[in-house]
């Protein structure tokens, strides 16, 4: 722990910048003029400077996207049955959700928002534990420390700073883990986004900031978040690498994220990736999207389905065939059936946990209140029995 951490070493914090002429300092900072694409809308390969992930990986990407979507559809259905309090769907954003977590290692840290339930199950987290928050049982159902996965974050953009802190802290302790912070287009307007990216930049912390630009923040359109050509350009102001990518092109999303993670892991500081995508469902099941967008718009994006695109490509490349597709479909159905069944069981939530984790050791005042609630519950169950 006493070795100078890489991130820290490279920061060279007291180096003074000079005002003397420099060779076009911003040029290498600009993202691609247009979003990176590796597959066209029909699934045909487009040449790109980015390295295509191996067939095995793409096949796995496909598998997780199919399961992820099935999971997502199931979760939305559960809200209608009153089994979930609320669910923010990421249908349409499967390429981003799945490639995001596939680009990182299990010991890397992931910072999801409320939107990333699909990403979390794709990372292998038990879907019931993922839905604990949205079922209303507790604020977080999985073990974030063990899984290196922060609780899903609701206060917008606040998690970007935590990602910078974790990345710095891990490097400080000599580990080569990376932090991946998911964030929405709307949340880039929050001050915390600015501070998080800037902290990572100044301290060269290994963070990938991954903006899923799905064009809306609830009802607020992208034009109310930025006047810049694209959100990726924000990287320029922080002096960090940045890129924009077609968020419905699974191959491109994974390829760009792979490079971003590699960049961060090898000590080059943070990387900002903007994926242009679209959420097909309302913001959550409680939202009425017809108030702010047309069905035509939604239809157009339905035609840019990331799963269909990848499937077409992999079939063409001989990586997928009918049998494999069918097997994945069946697996997804089984996954959903299992989830459905397990979500039918009403979980027992221990009321005493209200008091037990406010502090490591409850204060005397909390013990009093705990005792009061315990007595009330005991009296109630006496009345009942």
């Amino acid at each position: 722990m006493t070795t100078t951490p890489r991130a820290v070493r490279r920061a060279s914090p007291r180096a003074r910048r000079t005002t003397a002429p420099q060779p076009d300092p911003a040029a290498p900072l600009l993202p691609s003029r247009d979003p990176v694409r590796m597959l066209d809308e029909s699934g045909k390969r487009i040449p790109s400077e980015y390295a295509e992930p191996p067939g095995e990986t793409l096949r796995e990407l496909y598998r997780r996207m199919v399961i992820g979507r099935r999971f997502d559809v199931q979760a939305t259905a559960l809200t209608k049955q009153g089994r979930l309090a609320v669910y923010p769907s990421s249908r349409g954003q499967e390429a981003c959700q799945v490639a995001g977590v596939m680009a990182v290692r299990p010991d890397d840290w992931v910072f999801p928002t409320y939107r990333e339930s699909m990403a979390l199950v794709s990372r292998g987290i038990d879907p019931v534990e993922v839905l604990t928050l949205l079922r209303g049982d507790w604020h977080c159902g999985y073990d974030p420390a063990a899984l290196h996965t922060a609780p899903q974050c609701t206060p917008l953009a606040t998690q970007t700073i935590h990602a910078a802190g974790v990345a710095y802290g891990e490097a400080y302790q000599g580990r080569d883990t990376v932090a991946l912070a998911f964030i929405g287009d709307g949340a880039t307007s929050e001050g915390d986004f600015h501070e998080g990216v800037n902290f990572a930049a100044v301290f060269r912390a290994p963070v990938v900031f991954f903006v899923q630009n799905n064009r809306y923040a609830i009802s607020v359109p992208l034009s109310r978040q930025t006047a810049a050509p694209s959100l990726a350009y924000k990287g320029v102001g922080y002096g960090i690498a940045c890129e924009q990518v077609d968020g419905n092109d699974p191959v491109a999303v994974l390829a760009v994220l792979n490079r971003a993670v590699e960049h961060a892991r090898s000590g080059n500081g943070p990387f900002l990736v903007e994926a242009h995508t679209y959420r097909l469902e309302p913001h959550t099941n409680a939202d009425d999207a017809s108030r702010y967008r047309t069905m035509d718009e939604v239809e157009a994006w339905l035609g840019r389905d990331p799963i269909a695109r990848l499937e077409a490509y992999l079939r063409g490349a001989g990586v997928l065939d009918d049998a494999a597709v069918e097997a994945v479909r069946a697996e997804a159905e089984a996954y959903a059936a299992d989830l459905r069944e397990r979500m039918n069981a009403e979980p027992t939530v221990d009321p005493m946990s209200l008091f037990d984790h406010v502090y490591a050791t409850p204060t005397p005042q909390l013990l009093e209140q705990r005792e009061q609630v315990r007595a009330e519950l005991a009296a109630e169950s006496e009345v009942e029995s």
């Binding site: 917008l156 307007s189 009321p351 909390l366």
Partner: protein, 339 residues
């Protein structure tokens, strides 16, 4: 002005009408925030304002609460009267510096040259099964900050009238809307004018003890008072309506008469608004009190998940328990003897 008719109106609709009427009455009134335009707000409080008054007077902003409040400060400096919406209680926290260091202080800093006539609307408190960060009771943070007026309606008529007054007020008002009351209705004819800022109202007269409530705890107190009748207690219920300015007169008069007092608040109890009320009441009514002023409040924990919120929220039973502990037999409360 809306036509005067008596119909069943929800608090949400009353608030919407207040905004609508205020915008009609004064061109300087502008409404902005997250999702307040096309969507009409996640609770539809700004529904239809964009359609009626256009993009210039009701519009969506970037997602940035300090930005929204700071933008309002600037607009107020230019002579406008901004009404902004924070989407939920906990999402006003990013604006905390703007609120405490600028909104609350600008008039004072400039010896009156720059007032800040803005209204910060905050849907607050719980009881709606909301997930974390959507149910905070944040009134104490604001009430403790000099320079802010802090208002929270407990009924439909007040929702309308107090919001109109807030918009007309020369000072900044944090207008706290109890989410769980949005869809409660009353027979009301809008526009309606109820007593002004700084006036508490006795919602139910009673002789034996005074329940003091505000915002989301008003219906709880009223229900408790009804239930208490069965147990032989005649309880007075006071709705504070505005936390700042505070109506010492009404409160003190009531407690001096009844001699007993319970404060009901939904927020976590420690260092909350109820503490201020209890402290003031015992300062002013000490010689009339037959028992300590008791508080019924939320637990001192982060707001719980939906499945457990009923354990947190002060309900009728806890209020009645507190009333029962008001030493009717003139014995010290056994609860505190050991503590």
């Amino acid at each position: 002005m809306s036509a005067v008719t008596t119909t069943s109106v929800s608090m949400a609709k009353a608030l919407n009408a207040a905004l609508r009427d205020a915008m009609a009455a004064d061109e300087r009134v502008v409404v902005f925030g997250e999702d307040v335009g096309q969507l009409g707000g996640v609770f539809r409080i700004t529904d239809g304002l964009l359609a009626t008054y256009g993009e210039q007077r009701c519009f969506d902003t970037p997602l940035a609460e300090a930005g929204i409040v700071g933008f309002a400060v600037g607009m107020a400096m230019s002579g406008l009267r901004p009404v902004v919406e924070m989407q939920f209680d906990a999402f006003a926290y990013p604006a905390f510096e703007q609120i405490t260091s600028h909104v609350a202080k600008l008039r004072n800093r400039t010896r009156g040259a720059l007032g800040v006539p803005i209204v910060i609307r905050v849907p607050y408190a719980g009881g709606i099964g909301g997930v974390e960060h959507h149910c905070d009771s944040s009134e104490a943070y604001y009430a403790h900050t000099p320079g802010l007026k802090v208002v929270t309606p407990g009924c439909v008529e007040d929702a309308y009238s107090l919001l109109r007054e807030a918009i007309d007020d020369p000072d900044p008002v944090v207008f706290l809307e109890p989410k769980k009351l949005y869809f409660t209705s009353a027979e009301a004819s809008l526009p309606v004018t109820t007593p002004g800022f700084g006036r508490a109202v006795v919602r139910r007269p009673g002789r034996d003890a005074t329940l003091i409530a505000y915002g989301p705890s008003v219906p709880v107190a009223l229900e408790a008072a009804e239930a208490a009748r069965d147990e032989g207690w005649d309880l007075e219920v006071i709705d504070l309506r505005t936390l700042v300015p505070f109506d010492d007169e009404t409160v003190t008069a009531s407690v001096r008469r009844t001699g007993r007092c319970v404060v009901v608040q939904e927020a976590q109890g420690f260092a909350g608004m109820g503490a201020e009320i209890a402290a003031r009441v015992q300062e002013r009514c000490f010689h009339s009190l037959h028992a300590p002023v008791l508080r019924v409040a939320g637990l001192d924990i982060p707001y719980p998940p939906p499945k457990l919120e009923h354990l947190h929220l002060p309900g009728v039973d806890r209020v009645l328990d507190a009333v029962a502990r008001l030493q009717w037999d003139d014995q010290p409360d056994p609860r505190w003897v050991a503590a």
